[in-house]
């Protein structure tokens, strides 16, 4: 099993390098701005009209760091388990193993699971687990007219789901291409499109449970979409080792939904609000945990939902529940509770800075991303040279604050100058 230390290579450039690169980039950006303003010889790729956007700088100093959260994404090579099985006289419908895509796929996946539960015409169902999948599934079952009891150790705010970054990322570590097979792509698209439509019904509500913001990718080099060709030197794979061995094994389906999900556009130097030579902007949907979970829990209880605090430890316990249809939405816990050894932990962590409403955007530079949300500015430090393999097989679920502090140091020069120009 790969360990965290084996996978992480510290990727912190020396300060002099960062400043040097940024200094050069800032010079370029200023040149672009002044030539646009004076009508002097324009830069070759300058679109009309080019106007530098003013952004309020983020505050990326260590004193702003208020939380570091770590969690395990439940990756299954074949994609989420949406199968059914009997435990005694109880029908168990599975809905777990959504990798880094649980929030994004929640509504579509719930639709599939509840559809299977409805096929035996129950009047009431149990849902085990109250992460984003469990709670959403419970509500979808209620909207279908069922009486629902959630059995879980904790409600949503204390589950692993709450330790995600909360962005719409529907194909993040959702499956491996070969074991998932071609059919899963179709199911994924169906679930993603249904989720996208449902999230749109939450846009603009008080507290912004779901919202869009601009997200910038900025760089000192031209920005290209990273590709991961198969490395022929690596002969092992998930099929031989039970864990993916390289990035090319991971499935990606986002191209299927390009027609609805905004794609990045290049910014001309004069439009770039950051002191870097290159920038792209895209519109990113994200979930604000506090208001969104409040809405879900309110709907669940208003519809007469019942919550029972209970911790399960083995499958036979499902057969002891009074409800004879049980939807199993326990996420990563399926490894130890349902004895599903195909659940692969993929460790991830987020740092959280003091909320900064007036800086309502996201930015990615080098290996660091920031995203301003209602409950804080999310900081992630993800080595692009490791890609999807980062954290694979690592189930040590403790935060490493230093990685976040390193990230803040990398981002600080972006906001030190140039933004107010």
């Amino acid at each position: 099993m790969a360990r965290y230390g084996d996978l992480i290579t510290p990727n912190v450039p020396r300060r002099g390098v960062v400043q040097g690169a940024l200094g050069l980039a800032a010079g370029l950006a200023m040149t672009g701005c002044s030539s646009a303003g004076s009508g002097a010889k324009p830069q070759a790729a300058l679109p009309l009209p080019a106007r530098r956007l003013r952004l309020v700088p983020m505050r990326v100093s260590p004193d702003q760091l208020i939380d570091v959260k770590c969690c395990l994404r439940p990756l299954r090579a074949a994609g989420p388990n949406l199968g059914t099985e009997m435990v005694g006289d109880t029908l168990v419908v599975h809905n777990y193993g959504h990798g880094g895509s649980g929030w994004s796929l929640s509504w579509g996946s719930a639709e599939v699971a509840v559809g299977k539960a409805l096929s035996v015409l129950p009047k009431e169902v149990a849902v085990v687990g109250c992460g984003i999948i469990g709670l959403t599934t419970a509500i979808v079952a209620q909207r279908a007219g069922l009486k629902v009891t959630i059995y879980a150790r904790d409600l949503l705010p204390r589950t692993r789901s709450f330790r995600a970054s909360g962005s719409f990322t529907p194909d993040s570590r959702i499956a491996l291409t070969d074991p998932a097979g071609a059919a899963f792509g179709d199911l994924w698209e169906q679930m993603t499109r249904l989720s996208w439509k449902t999230f749109r019904t939450y846009l603009g509500l008080p507290g912004n449970p779901v919202e869009f913001s601009d997200s910038y990718q900025v760089s000192d080099q031209p920005i290209e979409r990273r590709k991961w060709p198969r490395d022929p030197a690596i002969t092992d794979s998930w099929a031989t080792k039970g864990l993916p061995q390289q990035n090319s094994e991971f499935a990606h389906y986002n191209d299927r939904i390009k027609d609805i999900v905004p794609q990045p556009v290049d910014l001309a130097a004069a439009e770039n609000p950051f002191p870097t030579a290159y920038a792209q902007r895209s519109s990113q949907m994200h979930f604000n945990f506090a208001s969104y979970s409040h809405l879900l829990l309110s709907e669940f209880f208003e519809r007469g939902g019942r919550y029972v605090m209970r911790s399960f430890h083995e499958p036979t316990e499902y057969g002891q529940l009074p409800e004879k249809v049980v939807i199993n939405a326990v996420g990563f816990a399926a490894r130890d509770l349902w004895l599903d050894k195909t659940v692969i932990p993929v460790r991830g962590q987020t740092g959280w800075l003091v909320p900064r409403f007036e800086a309502n955007y996201g930015v990615r530079y080098k290996n660091i991303s920031l995203l301003s949300k209602a409950d804080g500015v999310v900081v992630m430090n993800t080595n692009p040279d490791i890609g999807d393999m980062l954290g694979v097989g690592d189930s040590l679920e403790l935060p490493r604050k230093d990685d976040i502090l390193d990230g803040l140091a990398i981002m600080a020069p972006l906001f030190a100058r140039g933004m107010e120009a």
Binding site: C71, R153, R160, S311, D336, L396, E397
Partner: protein, 142 residues
Amino acid sequence: MTFTSLRPLAALLALAAIGSAPAREKSTRQGVYSDGQAEAGAQLYAVRCAMCHGRNLEGSYEIPALRGKFVANWSGSPVADLFIYLARAMPQFAPGSLSPTDNARIVAFLLKANGMPAGASPLPSGEAELRKIAFAPSGPAK
């Protein structure tokens, strides 16, 4: 009373026995582990468990405490259930790495830390024997 008239009662008793949980021979209220074993368990806990569950078993916002709710979650089951779960699932970063002897030591420590009394003999590490012991809290938390 004739022999025949007892039959319905016997049938009823048999049904009741089938319908209820199997009786445990003893419970954790009766001193099912030794102090020495719990002490060894405390040392193991400090190395293998405390990094996540906390030095005082307090847990965190994210990680379950091994007091309070923990007792409620396991009560009524045989100690074997807890033992088997730990053997399979813990420590989370290296599941399945505890030897049965060490696992029994850690369970003994958890019983002691939750106010269940020590006895003369150590807690066994065999599943069949552990199945006879009910996990039962010894009273309100102090």
